[in-house]
């Protein structure tokens, strides 16, 4: 393993996991949202290192650029910045979350998924065109590959969501 990529990987790994933790730990909702943005950006960097450039750009545009801005918009509009308004007392959410998280990690360990990670990079000729828009498009719309149907289903799902949002918003106006 080369030194510089390893150091880079560990810096990004610590950054992404640390900021993901801070999303949960932070008391202030705006700070939480900001740490979530940092997590998204770190994940985008991982996509780039895995030569999935298109995915990285879309990750930044959609998640960091649009969805999180909407989150911030709502947080600011409702003025949730006062921490005492958000204090939870005596919910069972925390023990359940801890239990499920522990279960997930045990499942990961027992399935040995962590041990079967690839240890060396894929050959260069396989990687170069892996994440370009062309290769994603050709794979996504290729009827011989199994991804066309899920893609269409996803777009119909999004259409339903849009129509639903409009219906809900209109009902309030009328």
């Amino acid at each position: 393993m080369q030194l510089a990529p390893t150091i880079f990987f560990w810096i990004m790994a610590i950054l992404s996991i640390g900021s993901a933790l801070m999303v949960v730990v932070s008391k202030n909702p705006v700070r939480s949202a900001l740490f979530l943005v940092v997590t998204f950006l770190a994940v985008a960097v991982f996509y780039v290192t895995l030569s999935a450039q298109f995915l990285a750009a879309v990750q930044i545009m959609v998640y960091a650029g649009a969805i999180m801005v909407l989150f911030l918009f709502v947080i600011m509009l409702l003025n949730l910045s006062a921490p005492e308004a958000l204090k939870e007392r005596g919910t069972i959410q925390r023990p359940i979350a801890l239990g499920l998280g522990g279960l997930f990690i045990t499942a990961l360990i027992f399935s040995q998924a962590l041990l079967q990670m690839p240890t060396r990079p894929a050959p260069a000729e396989q990687v170069v065109n892996l994440g370009t828009v062309q290769s994603i498009g050709l794979s996504l719309y290729n009827p011989n590959l199994p991804w066309l149907f899920p893609f269409e289903i996803t777009s119909i799902l999004l259409l339903i969501a849009v129509v639903g949002a409009i219906v809900l918003a209109k009902r309030k106006l009328d």
Binding site: N28, A66, V69, L72, F73, S81
Partner: protein
């Protein structure tokens, strides 16, 4: 792909004292783009004040230096030495982070603009064409869009952390406005991507280096000329949509509602003084340069000369690029001087009910025209890089309709 750019004047050697020169291009480009965008800001401010003064029939800056040229230098010195006031109830960390974020994202966005094509000749006589950018990535257009979508954070966080009602309203307006107009901007750019068949900015510029509408019987003078650029190639509408959206994206008049002084004092930067205010100011001008550069590269031929005849195509492409950016900035100032600010609901109506449908319709129209030009028989080309040859998994085709 760029071998047929007719207007290259000189080539550089690939090797120079054992240094591989094309490898140095990104480093020179980093220095250049940073210096260019930072050093141009005072000039742009001066230009804006002079042009606005001309439009409003005033004298404009005329005290400091010849014709007031040093006025903005004096202003920036003043901003450096002003007292840095921090209001008591701000959220300190985010308050300091916001102007830095605004400047950072603005500066990062112009890394992929193709300002010029450099030509390197190796020992065997092959000419290698390298676009003068920090990184000519194959998602260049998406990169710029991603960076400009991150720009809203500077404004929104400044508005929120100031703990001031006016600032908060400014920040909220900015985020709503940016989300709305990003869509129209993306659709307008998508029209060009459809025509060029690439998201790489150097490919988009190279795709404009053809005869107008691909008519081969025209003489070589028209090759890569003003009529073959995508403002005309996309039939005129996307460039208008993009220009409106880019003004809204950079929060400039007539879309400067986040800082409307008659309603919100100074909007999101009400509580900022001295250099922190100057950083917001700078980021606004730098992002103007970036979106104008994208406009120049995508719709106006980037570094291509307006006509492929001698005195014009001997000028380095970089100068054409800067000229096109400056014309864009001039139109910004012109609009600011002549058009009143939009009301908030009019702004939202324009974005969602006018520009978005027009952009969608135009995208379909261009796609249809493209199909008429190159009929598609519907047969998938074999996909050589589909890495795992997955055995056809059942009923995919059956469910398609």
């Amino acid at each position: 792909m760029f071998d047929d750019l007719t207007h290259y004047n000189f080539t550089l050697p690939t090797e120079w004292h054992g240094v591989y020169l094309p490898g140095l291009v990104p480093y020179v480009a980093i220095a250049f783009f940073l210096g260019f965008s930072l050093a141009l800001v005072p000039f742009l401010v001066y230009m804006e004040r002079v042009v606005i003064a001309f439009i409003q029939d005033r004298t404009g800056p005329n005290r400091v230096g010849p014709r007031g040229l040093l006025q903005t230098i004096a202003d920036s010195i003043k901003l450096f030495f002003k007292e840095d006031i921090r209001p008591k109830s701000v959220d300190v960390r985010i308050y300091y982070l916001a102007p830095a974020l605004a400047t950072l994202t603005a500066l990062a966005a112009n890394a992929v603009l193709p300002a010029q094509f450099l030509y390197f000749k190796d020992a065997a006589g092959h000419v290698l064409s390298v676009p003068f950018t920090v990184g000519d990535v194959n998602i260049g257009l998406l990169y710029i869009l991603a960076m400009s979508s991150l720009q809203v954070y500077g404004v929104v966080l400044a508005g929120w952390s100031s703990n001031n009602k006016y600032s908060l309203l400014g920040g909220l307006r900015a985020s709503a406005q940016l989300i709305s107009y990003e869509l129209s901007m993306g659709l307008a750019l998508l029209c060009v991507v459809l025509l060029a068949g690439s998201l790489k900015l150097s490919d988009i510029v190279a795709a404009q280096n053809i005869k107008p509408f691909g008519i081969d019987s025209l003489s070589d003078v028209w090759k890569g000329s003003i009529f073959s650029w995508y403002w005309l190639g996309s039939l005129g509408v996307p460039v208008i949509l993009y220009t409106i959206a880019m003004i809204a994206e950079t929060n400039r008049a007539p879309f400067d509602l986040p800082e409307a002084e008659s309603e919100l004092v100074a909007g999101f930067h009400t509580e900022y003084t001295s250099m922190k205010f100057a950083m917001f100011f700078m980021s606004e001008y730098i992002s103007m340069l970036t979106v104008c550069g994208l406009n120049a590269a995508v719709f106006w031929g980037g570094p291509l000369p307006p006509l492929n005849i001698w005195p014009l195509n001997a000028v380095p492409g970089f100068l054409w690029f800067v000229l096109k950016i400056m014309l864009g900035i001039f139109s910004y100032i012109w609009l600011r001087g002549t058009v009143p600010r939009l009301r908030y609901d009019a702004l939202m109506n324009l974005g969602w009910k006018r520009m978005l449908p027009i952009g969608l319709i135009w995208l379909f129209l261009l796609a249809g025209l493209n199909l008429l030009k190159e009929p598609n028989d519907g047969v998938m080309p074999p996909n050589p890089d589909a890495v795992p040859q997955v055995q056809v998994v059942q009923p995919v085709e059956g469910d398609k309709d």
